[in-house]
Structures are given as C-alpha cells and as structure tokens.
C-alpha cells in the first residue's frame, strides 16, 4: 500500500481561556483534542461539524498557521511540525489554503495579479515575466479572464473574489489545499459554480483537498471520505457513502437528521436531538456528546470512547456504535423514488 499524502496523529491544541473572571478561573480550552486522520492522493476529505468544534483550527494546525500543542503531521513522509526555515517554506509550496471570507482574505491595495503571484514571490524561484504569465494562465483557469489581472478586489463580486483566492492557492502548484468554508459565504447559484470549479481543478491537477465545512450537503457532494467533529474530537470517519447511508455515531445521525432537505415530502420524518453544544471550557466528562445523546449510559459519562474500526474504512468513537445502527435516520433511507 502506498503512503497517504497526509497523515495526522494525536493532533491537539489547547488555548488558555482569556477574559477569565478571576485567577483561579484561568482554564484551558482544548480546541482540538487528539485528532487523527489521513488524506490520500487525489481525494477530498470532508471535515464537518458545528461552530466551535475545532474544524477550522485543525486546518490551520496542519498548515502551521497555528502551532499545535501536541501530535504529528506527516506530509509525503516529511514531519511537518519539525520543519524550519527554508524547508518549511518549500513545503508550503505543496500545501495551500483557501479561506472563507473572500473580502478579508484578499489585500484591497494589491491588484489581482499581485495577489496571485505573491506566493511565487515568497518562494522566489521564478522571474517576474514568468510569474505574470502564470497569474494570467491561472485567471483563465479559474474562470476569470487574464484581462482582469490589473483590477483590484473591490471590483469583483464575492464569487469572483473566491476564484481569485483559489488562483492564489494554485499559484505555487500545490498538491494539497485546505478549503476552509471556501464556499460558505457565497449565494447558492454562485456556490455551485465554485464547487464545480474545485472539482474540475482537482481532476486536472490531481489535487487533494481537506474540505472544511458546516454544510453537510455540500460536503457530501464534494468529498470522497468524511470526518465528523464534535467539541474538539473526531467522532466518526467513513467513506462518503457509508457515513451518509449508515452513520453509527449518534451525533452524526443527529446532524444528518437535522439538515433541511429540498423535498417537501420528507418533512418531519426525522429524529431531532435536544440541547446545545456544551462549552469547550467545561466539556462533559467521558464522551463529550453524552449530555445530548439519546443512548447515553453511565459508561458514556465515565469513560471517553476511543476511536475504533467498525470496518476497514469506517471508524467511530462510541461505546455503543453497534447498537446505534437501528436508530439511523438518514433521509436517504426514507426517500421515496
């Protein structure tokens, strides 16, 4: 078996809670807690979860935009976390990121061409003429026009700006791109265009994506495999088909049951969960989902379940994953026709 492109093990990040009411209140937030997964060549791993679950922090830790507290990240056999200076810079050619907000992630004082070639300038192994030629090629590639090169971000719509952000990520010819809520700020009709663009580029350049999103429908559409996070931990990872058709973690099941689907005939057929996500400052003991879980027993409140394999490509962190199959409430199962 060939090595995965990216392997993440025991990745953790804790922050000191700011604005604590008193000194004795100075607590630690485990934003990402013992997270592990891998990304294969040419695939898209979807990373989903609700706000505050640690999905964006995970993406930033891998890119070393934030330094992890613990864990290891291997990219093509290289230990990402121990790299420094020139080696780290070289690695960053291969790993890029596209951000959510196409307004704040582009420098308003730079022309679109300068924005796209900035990563190439930083890398420093191309001359000016080549860089500009590359920028123009990339503009065409992402569905803009090379005639746009001299324009500034404010002259573009949200969808067009996101295309510029994608062109910038493509500039150093990466193998791996973290898409951090990359289509979430876009209107539906424009979002669909950008999703199709990301898929076309993946096919053309053999890219791998870590696609971070709160939108389970978009993630299903674009991903090969999907990981679900809850309060800093991954609770389930599986290939797309398995995850959506027979989810085994009660949280995954609840999440899928909560999505409004565009079929009026499927209305109100699905189980809901009550309660809200617990504070990351005071996560419940044992399984972090135990407070909201309809199946929780004493064991769940005592002991945090470890990730374990149910099948070759299906991992779940739940003491009772075998039992939970019958509760599956995926809309697919009930869809008629």
């Amino acid at each position: 078996m060939t090595q995965p492109l990216l392997t993440v093990k025991n990745l953790s990040k804790s922050f000191a809670a700011r604005g604590a009411a008193s000194a004795k209140d100075s607590r630690t937030i485990y934003a990402v807690d013992d997270v592990g997964f891998h990304v294969e060549h040419g695939e898209t791993l979807g990373l989903v979860g609700e706000s505050g679950c640690g999905k964006s922090t995970t993406g930033r830790l891998i890119m070393r935009l934030i330094e992890p507290s613990e864990g290891s990240v291997q990219f093509e056999g290289q230990d990402v976390l121990s790299l420094k200076g020139t080696d780290l810079k070289r690695l960053r050619k291969a790993m890029q990121i596209v951000f959510q907000d196409p307004f704040s992630s582009l420098n308003p004082r730079m022309s679109v061409e300068d924005i796209i070639i900035e990563p190439l300038v930083v890398q420093g192994d191309m001359n000016g003429t080549d860089m500009r030629r590359r920028a123009r090629q990339l503009l065409d590639k992402v569905g803009l026009s090379s005639a746009h090169a001299g324009r500034y971000p404010h002259e573009f719509s949200g969808g067009q700006r996101q295309r510029v952000g994608i062109a910038r990520a493509l500039a150093p010819n990466p193998k791996f791109i973290v898409c951090d809520e990359a289509v979430s700020a876009l209107d539906v009709s424009v979002q669909a265009q950008v999703i199709n663009l990301l898929q076309d580029l993946q096919e053309e350049f053999g890219l791998s994506y870590l696609f971070i999103s709160h939108d389970l429908s978009v993630v299903r559409h674009i991903s090969t495999r999907v990981a679900v996070m809850y309060l800093g931990k991954i609770v389930e990872i599986a290939d797309k088909k398995t995850l959506y058709a027979s989810p085994r973690h009660p949280y995954t099941q609840a999440l899928l049951a909560s999505i409004p689907v565009p079929h009026p005939s499927l209305r109100r057929q699905r189980a809901r969960i009550g309660g809200e996500v617990a504070s990351a400052l005071a996560p419940p003991s044992g399984c972090r989902f135990s407070q909201r879980c309809p199946m929780a027993e004493d064991l769940c409140r005592r002991e945090a379940p470890a990730m374990r394999h149910l099948a070759a490509s299906h991992e779940v962190a739940c003491h009772f994953a075998e039992r939970s199959g019958t509760r599956a409430a995926s809309p697919k199962a009930r869809a008629v026709g």
Partner: protein
C-alpha cells in the same frame, strides 16, 4: 379562493437612494398570505426579500428609502396609509417580526424578562405582575426551562439559539396574526436550526398564526412552507404551492436554484449551475432581470418585464418560456 387574504401585497415598489440616484430594490411585487399558512419567500442576495419584509413592517430606514407604489393590505387596511402611531400599535401586536441576528435585536443592558414584559405592557392594559407571568409562560412555550430564573439573564448570557427563542417569545407576546421571520435560523448551527423550525411549526399549528418565512435556503423552504414565492433581483419570479415548486418548477431561475442546491439524498456528479452572477441593483438588466443568465432567453425577454402566467392552481411564473423551463435541467 373566496377567502380574503390576511395580508395582500399589490404591486409593491420600494426605492433606495444610492450614490447615483434612486435604485429599485423591490419592483412590482404582489403576493397574498392567508390566515394560518406559512409562506416561504426565497431568494439570493439582492432579491429584495428582506426589503419586502421591512416595507410591510414600516421599518425601512427613515432616510434614503421610500415606498413609491403599491398597496400593503393587512386585514383589508392599507398599511401604507396608516400614521406612524397607528403602525406602532400594529407592530408587535398584530404583526410580529424576528430577524437573523438575535443579538442585535435584543437590548444588551436589560434582562430578557424585562424586554418581554415591556412588549406586553406597551400593547395591552395589563399589570406588571400579570405581564411577568405571561412572559414566563412564553419562555416555557418556546422551550426555555426554568423560565423564572432565565428571565433575569442578560442577552450575552444566552447562546445564539436561546436568544432566537427569546426573540420568538417577544414576537408571540401579544398573539399576533402574522409573524414575519427574516432568515431566523441562518446564523444558527444545523441541530439548533432544526429545533427552531420545529418550534415555529408547532406554534403555527397551535395558534393558527400566519408566517412569512424569508430564507435563502431551499431546504428550509421544503421543511416549512405551504406556499413559496421565489424572488430574483427585486421581482417575483415564481409563486406556487410548495410541492409544485420542488416537483414542477416553471421558471428557469427556480430550476437553476434547485439544481445549484446540493442534495443530501442523491448522488450527483456535477451541480447544475446558473452561469454568471447576480445583477447589480444599480444597473439591472432591462426586461426580464434573469434574461442575461437564462439559457432559454430570447429577444422578447429583453423587451419588458414578463407578466406572471398562470400555470396551474395557485401557480404563477413570470416567464415567457414556462413551457420549456419545466423540462430544463431535470434531475433524474
């Protein structure tokens, strides 16, 4: 239909003053809301859906915005002819409203209980104690446990979902006949969104109140609405019962919007997209606003605003090519 609608918009036109003169944000919009039904208004940015709601509530900015035409009939009375004092009496009492961002709609320096009580006292001759008791009941009804204690909480002490529940409690305080809900769940996580949509429907079942639910999310529409109004660039593109919108859309924009929405119940290799981007409100296309992005557009589409054509029972589409639109981009 023989029944008189609770709310009837007739050719509503709302203008904003921009840097280079006036722009039309809502253009000739007409639709009805009957007692006890949930009408979903769906559209993307700039479709005019929120401006329509603000126009109904009389909450447009005092400067730079005006309603330049049309009627808003609520129980037979034209709201545009009411004085601001009469509108104040109506708002909150007969028409309630909830917004996307509950934090900016609640006053941060008062406990939430006071804010509910204040609403009740503003509209009814009722003592403080009775109003307090009703506030607690309302909180209980929107799913907030230990309401008496929660009434003392300030907005910042509540989660986003809880704040939206409080907003719903305030909106319901005087049992309005109509609730305008503008993207009420957009800022919330999906599990909380599901809880709140369930709550809205339960309340609607219980009270028979009508709801205008404004959203950009076709899934939310499918979950909640009885009838749907699809808006694009300030105009109504299509209006139909919810099943018809999803199963037999007749406007190319509706077809495109559905095709662009990833569907969790199916595998599609590619999304069916609408080319181009939303028109700028300052320079809308002449004729049909959707024509520049429409695969079916013909020369006539650019000549004038297409009239709404009746397709079936309670189903209209403002398009010259409805016959062909219904077979466009069909998902199989």
């Amino acid at each position: 239909m023989s029944q008189t609608p609770l709310l009837s918009l007739r050719n509503l036109r709302t203008m904003f003053t921009g840097e280079n003169g006036e722009v039309v944000a809502v253009d000739n919009v007409s639709f009805d809301v009957n007692a006890g039904e949930i009408v979903g208004v769906v559209g993307e940015s700039g479709s005019g859906k929120s401006v329509t709601a603000l126009s109904i509530m009389g909450l447009l900015p005092k400067t730079g915005a005006r309603i330049s035409g049309g009627e808003i009939l609520f129980r037979g009375r034209d709201l545009l002819k009411l004085s601001s004092r009469e509108m104040r009496g109506l708002r909150g009492r007969e028409i309630g409203m909830i917004f996307q961002e509950p934090m900016s709609s609640l006053n941060p320096v008062f406990p939430i209980g006071d804010q509910i009580v204040e609403t009740i006292i503003a509209h009814e001759r009722i003592g403080h104690r009775a109003a307090s008791a009703r506030a607690a009941d309302l909180l209980n009804r929107v799913g907030i446990s230990s309401p008496a204690r929660r009434m003392l909480d300030y907005p910042h002490q509540l989660s986003g979902g809880m704040r939206q529940r409080v907003m719903i409690a305030i909106a319901l305080a005087c049992s309005p006949k109509l609730l305008l809900a503008d993207e009420p769940t957009t800022a919330l996580d999906v599990t909380i969104q599901a809880q709140l949509l369930d709550l809205l429907r339960d309340i609607q079942d219980e009270t028979g109140m009508a709801i205008v639910l404004i959203t950009h999310n076709m899934g939310v529409i499918a979950e909640c609405a009885d009838r749907v109004v699809v808006m694009y660039a300030g105009r109504v593109a299509e209006e139909a019962p919810v099943d018809r919108i999803f199963d037999a859309p007749n406007h190319p924009y509706t077809v495109g919007l559905l095709g662009s929405t990833p569907d969790i119940t199916r595998d599609e290799r590619r999304l069916w997209t609408i080319p181009g981007s939303l028109p700028r409100i300052e320079a809308p296309p002449s004729g049909c606003r959707f024509a520049p992005r429409c695969q079916l557009a013909i020369a006539d589409c650019e000549r004038g605003q297409p009239q709404a054509v009746q397709i079936g029972a309670a189903h209209w589409a403002a398009c010259l090519r409805t016959q062909d639109a219904s077979s466009l981009g069909r998902k199989t």
